[in-house]
């Protein structure tokens, strides 16, 4: 069974308020008010001078200090932004080199926008299972540093600095992945360049598809939505989840704590939130939780994970 053996997150030291970040992004007063009151943002980490590798390497290094780097067979860089706005083509190779993982095959997974980490976890597990090598692991690295004009153009969210990594293995300690459900609605492939009608119909379609994949994920995991301890979505703002995460049977069990303090760190959000819950010991061992991911384009994914009690 696919296991998340370790998950870590990291942020630059510099913290800014919604209003300070809004000024950097050129947002209007109305937009700024919306980010604070409708989306529920307060502060976030952002350092204009920070290098991409200074952002993404610390959580990965923390994981590698506690594991055998020689066992890492795959280094997967999961990123949301693609095309010329996204990561440079050699980013995974640079990460591999800087982490000293010369024995790993490094590549990027993308084109699900912010939903990519769940597919990357599942793919890492599939590759390890296919290879059949005992003790082998895969390291998933997330975190992006879009150019200011790119961050400014994505005006429905406030993009902040944050990164996370997780170590994937088969068996062993950690959180077991019990199921994965995903759905892509390719008619929305134009993303932010879509028409007004595309956005309208996507907003109408979204709750139905989210419920479908959430139910599919718990069915496959052999549990129900009532059994789920935490629903763990990305930090895209409260408004995005209306009609789903504010409804029974999941309302009140959604992990929103990081929304107001970290804002949206693109594809890193879910692993950042998992790291918070892990380090604050807020997962009940043996009780299922659910990662819930969405990405422009549109892809919707749900994954049920069960933290396993530590031996002894």
């Amino acid at each position: 069974m696919i296991t998340l053996t370790a998950v870590e997150s990291a942020f630059p030291d510099t913290t800014v308020t919604v209003e300070e970040r809004a000024a950097q992004l050129g947002r209007s007063d109305v937009q700024t008010h919306m980010h604070r009151t409708i989306h529920g943002l307060d502060t976030m980490h952002y350092d204009a001078g920070l290098d991409l590798y200074d952002l993404v390497l610390p959580p990965a290094r923390r994981i590698l200090r506690a594991t055998d780097p020689q066992a890492v067979r795959y280094l997967i860089y999961g990123h949301a932004l693609h095309g010329a706005r996204g990561a440079a083509p050699d980013t995974p190779q640079q990460i591999r080199q800087r982490l000293g993982l010369g024995g790993a095959t490094a590549f990027a997974m993308t084109q699900q926008n912010c939903a990519i980490p769940l597919s990357a976890i599942d793919t890492a597990g599939a590759l390890l299972r296919a290879d059949g090598e005992p003790g082998a692991t895969a390291l998933l690295v997330t975190g992006e540093k879009p150019a200011p004009e790119v961050a400014a153009a994505i005006d429905t969210v406030m993009i902040a600095d944050g990164a996370a990594a997780c170590l994937v293995s088969l068996g062993g300690p950690g959180a077991q992945v019990r199921s994965f459900a995903t759905r892509t609605r390719g008619e929305y492939y134009q993303g932010l360049a879509g028409s007004r009608e595309d956005f309208r119909s996507a907003a109408q379609m979204r709750p139905k598809v989210l419920w479908e994949i959430m139910r599919e994920a718990v069915d496959r995991a052999g549990c129900t939505l009532d059994d789920i301890e935490w629903i763990i979505p990305p930090n895209q703002g409260y408004a995005f989840w209306e009609g789903v995460l504010d409804r029974e049977p999941v309302a009140g069990r959604v992990f929103f704590d990081n929304n107001r303090r970290f804002s949206h760190c693109l594809a890193a959000d879910i692993l950042i939130n998992a790291a918070t819950l892990t380090h604050e010991r807020r997962f009940s061992p043996g009780r299922p939780s659910m990662f819930l991911a969405t990405g422009l384009g549109w892809t919707f994914s749900a994954m049920v994970v069960v933290p396993i009690p530590e031996a002894g």
Binding site: G83, G86, P89, A108, T110, Q112, R129, T182, T184, G297
Partner: protein, 241 residues
């Protein structure tokens, strides 16, 4: 682990004269060449070495929609010309779960340090569990044994492939792909020549060496049979949005 077997291979090439040709336009040409009776895939992979000219379009999702809309889809990149080889490894890992899967390798631009492509190109491989050849990633050291076991071996070498370093055995026939492309080179050659090669060889090795960092990559097809539906599409794409 289930075998990954080739069902069909489609190639596409279109000039880049003025209009910006992107991954979507290449995908449109590739999908037009797919057989009508291809089952909806459970896995759709897009692979490229350099990003699309249009960063808003999620072309993996678009390819998913064009091939049935029921697949788990994403892109595999960031590895130079090795990306498609890793994507093949991913397709093999999901072979049992996915049923039918498709891998589109597309190229409209190249990473810094590699000459610009002469044309926008692509190759689409469809996999399933039928009677086609088994496709799998390989290490260069396996090719000599493959030639001994399988009979006539064709080594398809990318423009910069180092046959010696990749372990291509002395007795293998060689097809060297002409310069002008980067990550699509050997895959497009396979799509173009597959009908003839499958009648002549029982094993084919796709071999390339990345000129950017010297890394070698090998994939093999063995147990070859004639395929249906192989085609190459060409022409002028629609306007870029």
């Amino acid at each position: 682990m289930a075998d990954l077997r080739l069902v069909t291979a489609v190639g596409a090439s279109t000039p880049q004269d003025g209009a910006a040709v992107g991954h979507k336009e290449v995908v449109d040409l590739l999908v037009a060449g797919l057989p009508q009776d291809l089952p909806p895939p459970g896995l759709v992979l897009l692979s490229y070495a350099a990003p699309d000219v249009n960063g808003n379009q999620t072309v993996a999702s678009y390819l998913n929609m064009r091939t049935g809309g029921q697949a788990h889809s994403f892109a595999v990149s960031g590895q130079g010309l090795g990306g498609p080889f890793s994507a093949l490894r991913v397709a093999r890992a999901y072979a049992a779960e996915a049923g039918t899967s498709v891998l589109a390798v597309v190229e409209c631009r190249t990473p810094d340090g590699v000459g610009a492509p002469l044309a926008a190109t692509g190759a689409l491989l469809a996999f399933g569990s039928g009677e086609g050849p088994v496709v799998e990633p390989a290490a260069g050291g396996q090719l000599a044994a493959l030639a001994q076991e399988s009979g006539p071996l064709l080594a398809v070498l990318g423009p910069a492939a180092d046959a010696g370093a990749l372990g291509v055995p002395a007795g293998a026939d060689i097809h060297r792909v002409a310069a002008g492309g980067y990550c699509t080179s050997v895959w497009l050659a396979l799509a173009r020549h597959w009908p003839r090669w499958s009648r002549t060889y029982t094993a084919i090795a796709l071999c390339d060496t990345d000129p950017l960092h010297g890394t070698g990559h090998v994939a093999v097809l063995h147990g070859t049979h004639a395929l249906h539906g192989t085609a190459e599409r060409g022409g002028r794409p629609q306007a870029v949005h």
